[in-house]
Symmetry: D2
Subunit: 339 residues, 4 copies
Amino acid sequence: MVVVMKQGATEADIEAVSERVRGLGGEAFVSRGQVHTIIGLVGDTERFHAIDWKQLVGVDHVIRIGKPYKMVARDTHPETTVVKVGTTPVGRDTFTLIAGPCAVEDEEQTMAAVEASRAAGATILRGDVYKPRTSPYSFQGLGERGLEILEEVRRRTGLPFVIEVVDLHQVEHVAEVADCIRIGTRNAQNFELLKEVGVANKPVMLKRGLAMTVEEWLQAAEYIAQRGNSEIILCERGIRTFEPATRNTLDLAGMAVAQAESHLPVIVDPSHAVGKRHLVAAMARAAVAAGADAVMVDVHPHPEAALVDGAQALLPDEIVELGQQLAAIATAIGRELNR
Amino acid sequence: MVVVMKQGATEADIEAVSERVRGLGGEAFVSRGQVHTIIGLVGDTERFHAIDWKQLVGVDHVIRIGKPYKMVARDTHPETTVVKVGTTPVGRDTFTLIAGPCAVEDEEQTMAAVEASRAAGATILRGDVYKPRTSPYSFQGLGERGLEILEEVRRRTGLPFVIEVVDLHQVEHVAEVADCIRIGTRNAQNFELLKEVGVANKPVMLKRGLAMTVEEWLQAAEYIAQRGNSEIILCERGIRTFEPATRNTLDLAGMAVAQAESHLPVIVDPSHAVGKRHLVAAMARAAVAAGADAVMVDVHPHPEAALVDGAQALLPDEIVELGQQLAAIATAIGRELNR
Amino acid sequence: MVVVMKQGATEADIEAVSERVRGLGGEAFVSRGQVHTIIGLVGDTERFHAIDWKQLVGVDHVIRIGKPYKMVARDTHPETTVVKVGTTPVGRDTFTLIAGPCAVEDEEQTMAAVEASRAAGATILRGDVYKPRTSPYSFQGLGERGLEILEEVRRRTGLPFVIEVVDLHQVEHVAEVADCIRIGTRNAQNFELLKEVGVANKPVMLKRGLAMTVEEWLQAAEYIAQRGNSEIILCERGIRTFEPATRNTLDLAGMAVAQAESHLPVIVDPSHAVGKRHLVAAMARAAVAAGADAVMVDVHPHPEAALVDGAQALLPDEIVELGQQLAAIATAIGRELNR
Amino acid sequence: MVVVMKQGATEADIEAVSERVRGLGGEAFVSRGQVHTIIGLVGDTERFHAIDWKQLVGVDHVIRIGKPYKMVARDTHPETTVVKVGTTPVGRDTFTLIAGPCAVEDEEQTMAAVEASRAAGATILRGDVYKPRTSPYSFQGLGERGLEILEEVRRRTGLPFVIEVVDLHQVEHVAEVADCIRIGTRNAQNFELLKEVGVANKPVMLKRGLAMTVEEWLQAAEYIAQRGNSEIILCERGIRTFEPATRNTLDLAGMAVAQAESHLPVIVDPSHAVGKRHLVAAMARAAVAAGADAVMVDVHPHPEAALVDGAQALLPDEIVELGQQLAAIATAIGRELNR
């Protein structure tokens, strides 16, 4: 931690800061510059953070050195983590395709989307039964009945499922069916929910909030890890910007930063990022080329009749073609598509 | 609703759209332009929205006419709503000062902040016991013990309190002490929580999410209103932008848009918007001049020792001075400070 | 300047940085922390900035202390500057209303807008003859003929004019008529133009670029000041954000930050910030209450026929009413409207 | 164009709008909805745009159908354009690597960067002599002397150069050496400069402004096309968002939208988008996988001593390795690297 003094700070001001540091059992290193004097604080950082140094006389501002997350940081865990969803590994050494319906509408629609996903090479499936919707007048998910459908599909295909929860009450119940619990973008800073999945005995996929910096995203993951669950998959899904041509702006560099800063697997959801079918495949290809550990895409057999996000769902033929492209790009950069 | 056809759309495409409209019991008005043909849809809008028209052959895009919210819309409720917090009215005719500690730390700190707030003219108090914090290593609130302190302070001062809830479990319990329940920026699209406060028998203050458009904010309010609770106060508290000099960017025009679009009272929290003490008073003054129905500010007797957001808390002297300025500006624009 | 070393940096790495500092005639103060070692650099900052320290082995990142601007900084010029436009002072002690047509369309429209502005208390006029337009198919300004009209209006009213330039060729010519030259938001980082007005013998109004941080805005002002012209008025006019309800998001806190960081007068243009007539007056009131040194608003006698930005222009009656409100708020906060 | 009437609009209001449309030689198609009546305008769109319909009594808002650009639109020119820079084609059928120094510092540095670029497979070179810098205290480019170096390098390598201009005075002069003139992000709405390159007899590379929507970017290109120069290459280079971990946020979906909306080639500059060396290669790979027509990257033999943007420049070894990766990904998606 570095305390930067104001231009007019006096020796007494500097000494007062140093005294406070020593009182906390630390050491203060003073560098007297021509304009600003700065004080380097060495000792127990936690104790230093508890003080609002800006409030001391003569202090201009304070600079934090070091990261506000620990358990998910790559600095302290240089080896990357592989999270197993069912038997499918998600991590830096392989590349995984996750696909399926955005929302479960009925058994037929779900099965059709799942079959196409499997044919495309997907080894993890998606399908939601609780949908957080901006408008209260939109379809909110099948709930219980949806879970039954997913259980049946899972039995038939043998493939693991990732399913979203939107409230902490649902965690235990959804975890009975899901192989991985997902926390959506609007709940990415719902800290009570983060704490709850932190004690669930299932992998967690944590989407980035649409106004979250990468640093805040990793702090949200820290909430989960802190409770004992370190089976976390981070999922970039676009951030909110001024550009109206796409639903959100896919931040692939943010994905790459998260991979550099954290040991956790980081994946990309191009469907929700762009919201338009004709752009999804291009962004999925970009994600694998950028080094994403997986991509997750929406599939729907009849998007014109979809109850949720039909405009972004790939058709069965399209997901199969995309699967081939992703495998080819993965090979070109020395990774193998998980099968 | 308007369906815009692609440049190359055929007569058959146009007829197919029209046919579909008629099938839904509506009428289709076709305007054949030189470049684009557009089709105006007249009938039951709800039924039209259920169709993903973009999926039909020859359709370029679809334009929604009308607002995605109803119960909170001013169009349909031209008279503005006055929400009573305790006995204090919040609405377009008066101007209210809400003040108090950001977080309850102990009885002494709370009482000192409250006394200064009252001296400044505050007629509603704030003080939180559950704090949603970006970092899991930050102070998370006093919880139960904090509620006891607030109850005691309320008894002594006779002033009503607004208190934040961060999970739906807390609603019933907090509502026993609170005169108004607050939903914070990170939970503004926690739809399960919105539904829960929708059935609580208390006024609700709904902060704008930091990446929410005004339209989405009003849709979140609609979730509450839809359940039967229309005692809603909207609170602008800054949106996330690229500017790093302030914590967020206070969007006073967004506040004014919400007032124009909705019949609900709309207030401003300058403290959390800017995050820096020396800017809070200026933004509070701006808010009242822009027509905000109330402003809510943080007060702390010893901000240098604050456990949460000390950097933005006004000192007791400062809130008293601000109270006078706000009253003077309110008078200058023909409003009176609630007393 | 502070150099933060990586966690695994060796003593040799630290010594190499220190050696480099000494080679530049400076001193290096080393604080060895538990995780990161930091090095405070003391000496000639300019020489330090020329080095890309991040490239040295063992360096994690570099933190600049101090501001990237000097001549416009309040730190080094604590007394605030009053800029005279014609005989009208713009600065912290007074409050000035600037009004007039967005674009000069003809003499009648200009004169009508100017008369209303004068009646409202405006002591500086606006009116442009070169318009930077997003679309090449939009009206681009009257040019030469417009300047003649402005000259005539100025002769008749005796009031000074602020006029925009969009290319460095125009500076000399426009400066013959203008009392203040304006640089618009799209040219705020057109550095060649900034340099040119830096040698013009006229005050300059520099709008904030719509994606510029306050720090970058002050650096743009520094370009002008560096050439010898310190008669600079900064003008906040909204920044680009995700909110579509207004054209831009008016950043009044950014205005206040610019006032704190710089000795220059800082004013607000609510018309271009919001782009909608019914919000302009509220934002103008907010600006004066926040402490802006002036507000500048568009006026048009027949906005439905305006060639540019009619939707945001106030009607003659509206500007007169607004003038009264601004005067009342100015009085309420202890400032006087310039007359 | 569609005019949406207010809820309370009268028959007379509707008739007044229709009358106005007919007065402009057009036809008005009225669809009377339950809530809103909408009027479709058919006829000469240009004439309709000149009217500010929002100003008419009873009008709520106006919706533009159709695009605000024509000459660069794919709608009207379905065949995509191939721009030749020297003898190197840039377009949808091939993939081109553009590389070289960010700024020309001296002959040795330039030649070293160019040799590495050529070894990597670059068939177009970059190198600037005029640099628009945020701070007036930063290196502003070698100017004239730099052009001489570039001329010599071009003679030796036989490869074409793309060179930035920052003012319209430079266009003619730079065009003598450059095979393609570049307009940087800060000048992307410097309309006078756009007009000037519109009459230059050289291809133009137009970077996207850092706060520009894709639609505005295409309108800027329209300024150039309108003057007769349709040899335009669009270059995505990141937009400004709230995320501080990268300099800007690379908007690859924006690139894909520009390709869908325009017939012009669209390329990506990952170096300036992210500003950090360790992310550049990942984003370059993503760009080619997303379908970019070229990528342009900075190279520097000694980035620690670079006068501009050293932190983002690839080392000679790195560009060579990247060239191989890009070629492999291009092949995987059925494109060939230009050689």
